[in-house]
Each structure stands twice: as C-alpha cells, then as structure tokens.
Amino acid sequence: MEDQQGRGTHTIETLTTQLDDLLASRRQNAGWDAAYQEILTRLNREGFLAGILGAGAAFPDFVLPSAEGRLIALADELARGPVVLSFFRGEWCPFCKLTLEALARNLPAIEAAGARVLALTPETGGLPLALKHRHNAGFEVLADVDFGVGLSAGVVFKIPTLYRARLEASGNSLPLRHGNAAWCLPVPATFILRPDATIAWRFVDVDFAHRAEPADIIAALRSL
C-alpha cells in the first residue's frame, strides 16, 4: 500500500515511520520487549485475526455514549455517509497518541472524501473526553464501555501476564480506567463502513505498534 501515499505532498513523516521509531526505542528495554513479544506470540498462535469481522460482513448496529455524554447511533452516522471506525487502547497509550494525532491531522481529507470518523476507546470516567481534548479531535470519540462493540467486532483480547504485570507495576490501573477488572484491550483495528454498514476495507493487526496509515484510509475512501 506504500505506493498509494502521495510522496510529493507529504511534508511530515508517515504515521508508520513515527510508530516504528517509537517501537524501536521501547524495544531497547528488555522487559518491555518480552511483554510485547508475548502478546504477538499469543495472538498469532491462536489465529486471532481470523475471528475479526472481515470485508463484506455487516458491522452490527450499536449505540454508545460519546465523550461529551451524548448517545451516538452507528445507523445515524451511516445515514450521512461512509464511516471510518477505529478502535483505540486508550488515553495512556503512546502508540494511540501518535495515531490519533495523525487521524486528527488528516480529518479534513477524510471528510472531503465524504466520511465521518468514530474513535472507540474502552475507557470511562471522563477519559474519552480527555483523549478528545488532548488531540483537539474534530471527530467523535465513543466510550466502548465493557468492550461491547469490540467484542462484537472480535477485536478484544485478554492481556497476557507479562504485559499486565508491567501495566500494574507502572501504576496504570486498567480496572479504574475501564470500570471493570477484565484486563482486556482491543487490537488495532480500523474499519471503513459503507452506508449500508458493510465493511468495505479494514486494517487489523495483533501488533499494537501497527496502525492504519491515514493515506491508506483516504485512498480506500476515494475508491468506494
């Protein structure tokens, strides 16, 4: 997909480059790297990606609270055009930060292609709004409380032991953030939904350092 990126017009580096740099610096910490590898090994071994909604499938309709405290229905968003629906790990995740920044930067081009963006996070307690404000995001940030929509899409996994231990040791209380003690997270997943709710395009990866490149999203939207 790399050759779809408009090289001449990109004055800033791609999201992928930024994520790779961040990953490389994180992996210098052996403990972090082992926890990271454990997630990849576990999810690759069991064929996790096969359980995620694929192109052509209908994305199930849902209603979720927005960061501002409104109820947002997927059907209402789709009535206005295609939807880019993206799952995030949360406000604490540096890889999500880079991705949200890139998404916010590219929002005008996405909207110019007629689409709307919904960003889902499993976080509660005002964190979805904090995430939205931090990135000055002009798109809807929705609280996927208790992973309901993530589970329907097949993107939720139980965090393996090493990674969970690192989160706990760093004082990052996911039970507090999520309002449940399930210790789950979504894998990176971005779906482009046609107005009839079918999935036209998707990006999924078990590796949380891999995210949908905005240029690829825009190219997919233009080819709808």
């Binding site: 199930p60 309709d61 979805p128 939720v156």
Partner: protein, 289 residues
C-alpha cells in the same frame, strides 16, 4: 475473542452441559466444543473440566465468567438499544436515589436515553440504601445512586461517580450569611434540621466533632425541609448539588470537611433493558464535576 465463543461459554456456565448449551445456542456440539477450546487457548488455560457426565468450571473459568458475562451484556446492550430504537420499543428506566442524592447530576444522561427512546417511562425512587438495594435485588429498580459509606452486597457492581460536599442551607437574613464559609463552631447556637433524606451530614458532624449540637428531627422530602428552613425553624446541612433558591441561601461548610462519594450501583450479571444499560454506560463514560 469472538462474540459467539463468549456466548457459548456463558451458556455453558449456566447449563453445565455441552449438549444443552449447544441446543440453546443453536449450534452442533462439536462446533461449540471447538469454540470453547479456542477461547481456552486465548485465555491461557482450561475453563471447564469434564468428569464422567459432570461438567464443572475450573478456577480460571470461575474467574473469567463475571468479566465475560459483563462484556457479553455490553455487546447485547449496544445492539439492543439500536434495535429498540428502530422498533420504537417502550421501555422503562427506574433509578434509585439514596438519601439526599439529587437527580441533577444524572439528568443529562436520562435526557439522552429519552431522546433515543422517546416512549421510555422514567421513574425515580428516593429512599434509604437498604430499601434501594432490596429493590434492585428484586428487580424493581435498574440501578441506584448510593453514598459510598453504605454496606453493599457482593452482588452489586459499583462505579464511583462523583464526590459532593455539604453546604449550610439557611434563610437569606440569617446571621451566618455574612460569612463566606461556615465551620462547626459557628453552629453551636443553631438548630440543625436533620432527617432520613439529608445525606447524614449532620450526624457525621456530631460524630467527628463530638459537639452537642441541637438537632431537630425532620423526615420528609428535601422540598419540605427547605420550607421549614424558610419558616425559620432551623438550618440544614445538605448536599451542595441540591438546587436552593428563593428566600434561602447556601454557604460553604469547611471545618471539618463533610463530603461523601456517590456510587452508581447495579446488580452484577443481570441483563438490563436497553434504556437502563445505556443510562449506566452514559454515567460511567463521563466525568462529573
């Protein structure tokens, strides 16, 4: 993990029988068994063990069940509200309010639910914690806002919503109105109205300070208490969130600190109607100032 895997597992938890679970889920038994095995692979261990005809949950299975049940309910609720809206289902939203807890903080969430489901009947019940807990357990209430100092049974899920401080409510011509903030010592010559719906601030004050304060027992709704304050019977320590107007004023109460946390509670593992499920999600998603 996949929605169907989780659904099969929760059905198995309830039936403890692969044949019956497969029937209830409308799949063949081998398909159900395979799905459970894949879920076990992801979760890193066996969820169930079979001894002769007996199926039992393992320790991991027992530990995971409430979490997976919650996630399955969330998935069903997110889809359920979308469906209820398309079909114009008339539902109800029954919210309990603990003593002295106003509805103002959660009113925007109720408004959102009613916008999605215009036919929903909204019902508030203000009562003591024990009565509200009983109503939730017997399915008369969907959820309740309760103070964090009451005893909650294990079966109740709880999420902290906000903290609230006590204010002094008094007539505008009262001598204490000249103060910006009031302390316990300022109340030594006052009559303090206190009742079941006052939030227990006056009793807490007596306990903390050991002062012998003049307490006037007064049970009834907040509006009636405010009427008595207006008539000059006494003053009251009430939640800062209670709207007070007219001939009454409020002053901050600063010494000692009288505040309490307010929790949103609901019975764990019980499927809620779409209106109630959405209300709870809305309350949990946001921060309360």
């Amino acid at each position: 993990m996949e929605l169907s895997q989780v659904r099969y597992f929760i059905t198995l938890c309830k039936t403890l029988n692969f044949t019956r679970a497969a029937e209830q889920c409308n799949v063949t038994q081998p398909a159900l068994t395979r799905a459970i095995q894949r879920l076990e692979d992801e979760l890193g261990g066996a969820l169930l063990f079979r001894e002769r005809n007996l199926t039992q949950l393992t320790e991991l299975g027992r530990a995971m069940r409430p979490h997976l049940e919650t996630m399955l309910e969330a998935a069903d609720a997110a889809a359920g509200l979308a469906r209820a809206r398309r079909k114009h289902v008339a539902g109800s939203l029954k919210i309990g309010l603990g003593p002295g807890i106003g509805a103002a903080a959660v009113a925007p969430a109720v408004r959102e639910v009613a916008k999605m489901l215009p036919d929903v009947a909204i019902h508030f019940d203000e009562s003591g914690p024990a009565a509200l807990i009983d109503s939730m357990l017997t399915d008369m209430l969907d959820c309740a806002l309760l103070p964090d100092d009451c005893d909650l049974p294990e079966r109740l899920n709880r999420w902290p919503l906000y903290r609230e401080s006590a204010v002094i409510v008094l007539p505008t011509e009262h001598r204490l109105c000249v103060l910006n903030a009031v302390t316990a010592r300022d109340l030594l010559d006052e009559t303090i109205l206190t009742g079941e719906r006052c939030g227990g601030f006056a009793n807490a004050l007596v306990q903390i300070t050991g002062f012998s304060l003049r307490l006037q027992r007064c049970n009834g709704a907040a509006a009636q208490m405010l009427d008595l304050i207006g008539a000059g019977l006494g003053i009251a320590l009430l939640s800062e969130r209670l709207p007070v107007s007219g001939p009454l004023a409020t002053r901050k109460f600063i010494d000692p600190d009288l505040s309490r946390g307010i929790l949103l509670t609901a019975v764990a593992g019980r499927p809620l109607n779409p209106a109630a499920a959405s209300f709870i999600k809305l309350c949990r998603a946001r921060a309360f100032q």
